[in-house]
């Protein structure tokens, strides 16, 4: 095999098809010729009878039945992805690869490669259990911010999920998002609780040094709210919020994007008609109490805390803006994941396990008690209980019951990543030339998480997440740039 056969990004747009090249006369490159030479007719016959279906998209003379059903089950999708990835790796050049597959058939190509490379072993990465003795680094430090979004990460320590999977992980509290980002980049912590846009922004080098980051799982969906000061009890919608001073936890946060989306839908320009300041979540309540700000879109428990302190009320839960929106995530640097694969897998397992446990409503009260003490969230238990159980006071004299006020679902759908990137482009945080598909695929590990959920015996909450609407406007995952441009108020 020549030296060029390194693992290429299959979506590498730097290798376009050469124009004007016809199929008939293109020669195979060195690797391809080698394969064909080493193949005997036997292989072709074996491959022909293999169960792998050919989708007949490229011209092929494969022997597999045209009526063979293309398996849509989760197992086969994963297997085919891996086959495809390996074939693409052997033949990085698109045209030559298609040539090769065209000549021998997809099934035969996969079988030939399987003869040289044990694909079977590669397919169940998640299913392989990690022996506790194989874990490279048992003592881990995981950064977190004391908010209920990180509940699975936090409660996994006192409730033993890390220990269950062989890790001795300690969660370390940071006081602001910039601190978590710096800890992650400077390797003060091995993994961290981050906002779901942060792994994207750090991998792109927006607002920080560029460090490739991975996001294997989302922590929570929903779980935020717009809280306003008590003097604004008469406010009905964005139009009444002109001139307000708002807080958000971080520039690259779902809070910022949701607040801007909500204001923009109401005709308010978030940069001209209101002031949006970045304030660490724990300080928001104090600022509200002191009258420095008119409201904020913050993670819980700081919305409920404002009600507790009698200085604010819950104006709108974010699940009313986008039901099921991602919020915070579990992030790990690519370097750590590749140098400590067993540790990474054990950590991934603990997080998904803890996330499903947190999602069960029966466990919420117990979890609230476990994460309230000074070592973790450092909030009164009743505030956290109200958030997690969904039975809460809204500050306007009502008791509300919204069990999915906060929910935990680990699947990092790539459509979510594309929405976040589209909003980053919309507000001018990154340029419009970003490659949405590539970045989303690289950072949001949708397939790995699906594998992990399956391995642990849980059921994915949603089969897919390709179409969703926010305040009535549907998102177009195939054209995120167009979506970003399609708003009335946009910077692109």
């Amino acid at each position: 095999m020549n030296k060029k056969t390194i693992m290429n990004d299959p979506y590498d747009h730097n290798q376009p098809l050469t124009a004007g090249h016809t199929h008939a006369n293109a020669p195979l490159d060195e690797a391809g010729s080698e394969f064909v030479q080493n193949t005997t007719t036997e292989f072709r016959q074996v491959a022909a009878s293999s169960a792998k279906p050919c989708n007949h998209k490229s011209p092929c003379d494969c022997q597999s039945s045209a009526n063979a059903p293309i398996a849509a089950s989760h197992e086969n999708i994963v297997e085919n992805l891996i086959d495809e990835a390996v074939v693409r790796a052997v033949f990085p050049n698109d045209l030559k690869r298609r040539e090769f597959i065209g000549r021998v058939g997809k099934g035969a190509a996969a079988a030939m490669i399987a003869s040289a490379m044990p694909l079977g072993n590669m397919k169940s990465w998640a299913a392989e259990s990690v022996k506790h003795s194989d874990i490279e680094k048992k003592d881990l430090s995981i950064g977190f911010i004391p908010i209920t979004c990180a509940t699975p990460i936090i409660m996994a320590e006192p409730m033993g999920f890390y220990a269950k999977h062989g890790l001795n992980a300690k969660v370390r509290r940071a006081s602001g998002w910039a601190m978590v980002r710096d800890w992650g980049i400077n390797k003060e912590v091995d993994a961290a609780h981050m906002l779901s846009p942060m792994p994207l922004s750090i991998s792109l080098g927006a607002g920080s040094p560029q460090v490739p980051y991975l996001m294997p799982a989302i922590e929570n969906v929903n779980g935020q709210a717009i809280t306003l000061a008590n003097k604004h009890k008469g406010v009905k919608g964005p139009k009444d919020m002109k001139g307000f001073r708002f807080c958000v936890p971080f520039e690259y946060s779902m809070h910022n994007y949701l607040l801007r989306y909500y204001l923009a839908e109401g005709g308010i320009d978030p940069d001209k008609d209101v002031q949006i300041r970045v304030v660490p979540p724990p300080e928001m309540v104090a600022n509200l109490k002191a009258g420095n700000v008119d409201g904020y879109l913050a993670p819980d428990p700081f919305n409920q805390r404002a009600v507790y302190e009698k200085c604010g009320f819950l104006f709108k839960l974010t699940k009313e803006i986008w039901p099921g929106h991602p919020c915070c995530a579990f992030a790990i640097s690519q370097e750590f994941a590749s140098t400590n694969p067993n540790t990474y897998k054990a950590l991934f397992k603990s997080i998904v396990d803890a996330t499903y446990y947190s999602s069960d409503p029966a466990n919420r009260k117990e979890i609230a008690k476990a994460i309230a003490p000074k070592n973790y969230l450092n909030q009164p238990v009743t505030v956290i209980e109200q958030v997690l159980t969904g039975r809460y006071l809204d500050g306007l004299g009502n008791i509300k019951n919204e069990p999915d006020r906060i929910d935990y679902d680990p699947m990092p759908w790539q459509s979510m990543a594309k929405w976040i990137l589209s909003q980053m482009v919309r507000w001018g945080q990154i340029g419009p030339e970003v490659n949405f598909d590539a970045v989303a695929k690289k950072v949001y590990l949708e397939a790995d998480c699906a594998d992990m959920i399956d391995t642990l015996g849980y059921k994915q909450k949603k089969a897919s997440y390709d179409d969703f609407s926010i305040m009535g406007k549907p998102f177009t995952p195939k054209d995120p740039l167009g979506y970003a441009k399609s708003f009335e108020i946009t910077r692109v």
């Binding site: 300690k170 370390r172 006081s175 302190e309 003490p373 000074k374 006071l393 004299g397 008791i399």
Partner: protein
Amino acid sequence: MSKRNITSIGSKYAPYLLSVVILGVFLLVWSALTQVPAFDANKHSADEIMMMEMNGDVTQNEAGEYIRNAGKLDAVPGPGIVFKKAVSELKAPFSKAGTNDHGIGWLVLYTLKRFLTGFLIATVVAVFMGMIIGMNKTLLTAFNPFIQILKPVSPLAWMPLLLYTVKDPFITSVLVVFMASLWPTMANTAFGVSNIKKDYLRVSEMIEMGWMRRFYSVVLPASAPAIFAGLRISFGSALVAVVPAEMLLGELGVGYLSWIEWNNLDISGVIFAIMVVGVVGFLLDYGMSKLAQRFTYTEA
């Protein structure tokens, strides 16, 4: 005892008596201003009481009556509550309830470690630099613009730059303390060295002392009072800098404690943390002044 002895004893302790009286008046005013009326359950409907209980405003005591929740305060806490908080924190000073929750004893030790490391490094560098610029007029004029520009910069303003380059929070906090305690010592050392009595220098010239010997026997002892005066000022400056540095870096320490209590809006905890910083500063300063007394002297 004669009248004179009683009066002299009285006049020795009179100032301390006055301190106690000032403290007493302050505590009385403080508790008067933070009086909270007792909760009267009859004034509220059952629904309101249920919501207040859910909100943590009231709890039930053993008799089943509703009383105001002493753990939750709407305003600044009174001295009694702060005292209770202090007692509970000091009861287990060396506990470690988790990675983020260490007892007050440990926090003080961490803060002291940062503070003393930065302070000692700054002392060495400042005395050295101060000596050089004090003894040599040319160097003083040459370095002066840089010193004047860097001196007024708040030590906390260096923190982001240091964290970005150094990347380690402990070293960053030590360097912040270093930047805070450098200038007063340097300025005072330079002053002390340049103001050595010319007689001493002439005598050392006359007996042809070597440079080293002159340094140890003449320059250093002669400028010692000024150096120690500078050290005491630097000391205060460094302690003032280490507390906010901890808040911004998220490192465990006394500053971190006050920040965490603030995040939980636990004002009694914040007041307690402030008092701890004050007491620690007082004790260290007292120790420093005792040390300085051994090295200073008044000119005959």
